[in-house]
């Protein structure tokens, strides 16, 4: 059995505890009981920090007490698509996609450009016009698409996608369902975690 990519525990007074264990290299869908639990999990993974009533391990390493360098190293291996890490409104799609990876120097710009073009074409979007558009000119699905391609550009070992289907119509949800195959094609050894609320997932 492969090592855990993510282990998370949340204890709450009067509310159901949350406990997750996600093995490395798999695709897993998690249904959390409420929005607070979802926000805490996503926040903890994004910041690679946890509060007193939380426990978070990433790739077998507890994040509590980690120094800045260790946190940065873990952060480079994680990609997240969530409302809390939205797009920058004065940057076009390409600039939004390349910003994080180019800033941290984790990937060369030419490689990010290739990844972005290939991924967009594969997901049925013509890249050249799309990459020049600003977030305000996009619908919700397109904004999620940019955030997902930004995640792919980072080539993360652990990808967390928060509430992918939320707010999408049937056709958009069908297109969004192809994200899993796209990630898997690029990161065969990677771990993909979809996070939803229990009531959303049941709808």
């Amino acid at each position: 059995m492969s090592a855990l990519a993510l282990r998370y525990d949340l204890r709450r007074d009067g509310l159901a505890p949350v406990s997750l264990a996600v093995p490395g290299g798999v695709t897993q869908r998690v249904r959390l009981p409420d929005a607070e639990a979802r926000a805490r999990l996503v926040g903890a993974v994004l910041s690679t920090r946890c509060a007193a009533n939380e426990e978070l391990e990433l790739f077998g390493e507890p994040v509590r007490g980690l120094r800045a360098a260790g946190r940065g190293r873990l952060h480079d291996r994680i990609g997240v698509v969530t409302q809390a890490m939205g797009l920058i409104s004065n940057l076009n799609a390409w600039e939004n996609i390349s910003l994080e990876a180019a800033y941290h120097g984790t990937q060369p710009v030419a490689r990010i450009a290739r990844t972005a073009r290939d991924a967009l074409e594969s997901l049925g979007t013509e890249p050249s016009a799309f990459l020049a558009r600003l977030p305000d000119e996009m619908d919700l699905f397109e904004r999620k698409l940019v955030a997902f391609v930004r995640l792919l550009a980072k080539e993360p070992a652990l990808a967390l996608i928060d509430s992918l289907g939320e707010g999408l119509n049937r056709e958009q949800a069908a297109r969004a369902a192809r994200f899993e195959a796209e990630y898997r094609a690029r990161q065969p050894e990677g771990t993909l975690l979809f996070v939803d609320l229990a009531e959303e997932a049941s709808q």
Binding site: V80, A84, M85, L99, A102
Partner: protein, 258 residues
């Protein structure tokens, strides 16, 4: 009073942060943001100032000539002392405050209010590095370039158009101007305009990133504060430079070239 002290402290901290973080300009997205700022502040502003700057020189000469009933010699001195040293940098600073300062403070306040600065932090990108450093450096460079451009247009405009309003030929004005002008005049105005750009960008970034309220109402309030305080900062710097250069320097050991 307390707010004013807090703002001064914030401004000083921000200046030190910017100065210490300049190497971050090597990162491609930060460099891109710097170039975009130079383009917006310098290049796009330049077309709008051509006519105004050209008329500025002739207007100042014509009015002063009329009031003082002076000759070509005084006209050139006015062109040099007033237009080149004072009005050029001040006019560029006002253009930068009105165009760039307002846009910058509104943009940053919107980013702060809509949570985009938090999104940057979650990506591991420092707001100072990505939002402040390229804007401050870009506005400094662009203000200096815009100043040089306005000075050139105002002086050239003054020399070409003045013969129509005073008893002097273009050649006479041209020769007298180049007899009087010294490299220190250019160095003075360029250094001063870079300080103007630094103060404007820093003030606008500070108020943009610290709007008085984290609601839509905070945006116009942040812009108003940024613009008024930028103007005060520019006038203060101008007064300090005038004192340093036209007064005495280093307790009278060095006298400025006039």
């Amino acid at each position: 009073m307390l707010r004013a002290l807090r703002e001064i402290e914030g401004g000083v901290r921000l200046s030190l942060n910017v100065a210490g973080r300049l190497p971050v300009l090597r990162k491609p997205p930060v460099l891109e943001s710097f170039l975009r700022q130079v383009y917006f502040t310098g290049v796009t502003a330049s077309t709008g100032v051509v006519l105004r700057a050209s008329l500025l020189g002739v207007l100042i000469i014509a009015i002063t000539m009329d009031v003082l009933d002076a000759d070509a010699d005084l006209a050139v001195k006015i062109l040099l002392w007033v237009v080149l040293r004072e009005v050029g940098p001040l006019a560029a600073a006002m253009v930068v405050i009105l165009r760039t300062g307002t846009a910058m403070s509104a943009e940053l306040a919107m980013m702060r209010i809509s949570g985009q600065t938090d999104a940057l932090r979650r990506m591991g990108i420092e707001s100072y590095d990505y939002l402040v450093v390229p804007r401050v450096a870009g506005v400094m460079v662009a203000t200096a370039a815009l100043t040089a451009y306005i000075q050139f247009l105002a002086v050239a405009g003054g020399m070409i158009l003045s013969p129509f309003v005073i008893q002097a030929s273009f050649t006479e004005l041209y020769t007298k101007f180049f007899d009087l002008v010294a490299p220190v005049d250019f160095a003075y105005s360029i250094l001063k305009s870079m300080m103007f750009g630094f103060a404007i960008a820093l003030t606008c970034c500070y108020h943009g990133l610290n709007p008085p309220a984290l609601t839509q109402n905070g945006v116009p309030q942040a812009v108003t504060r940024a613009v008024t305080q930028s103007a005060v900062a520019v006038l203060t710097i101008n007064a300090l430079f005038a004192y340093l250069i036209f007064g005495v320097l280093f307790f009278g050991l060095v006298k400025a070239v006039v």
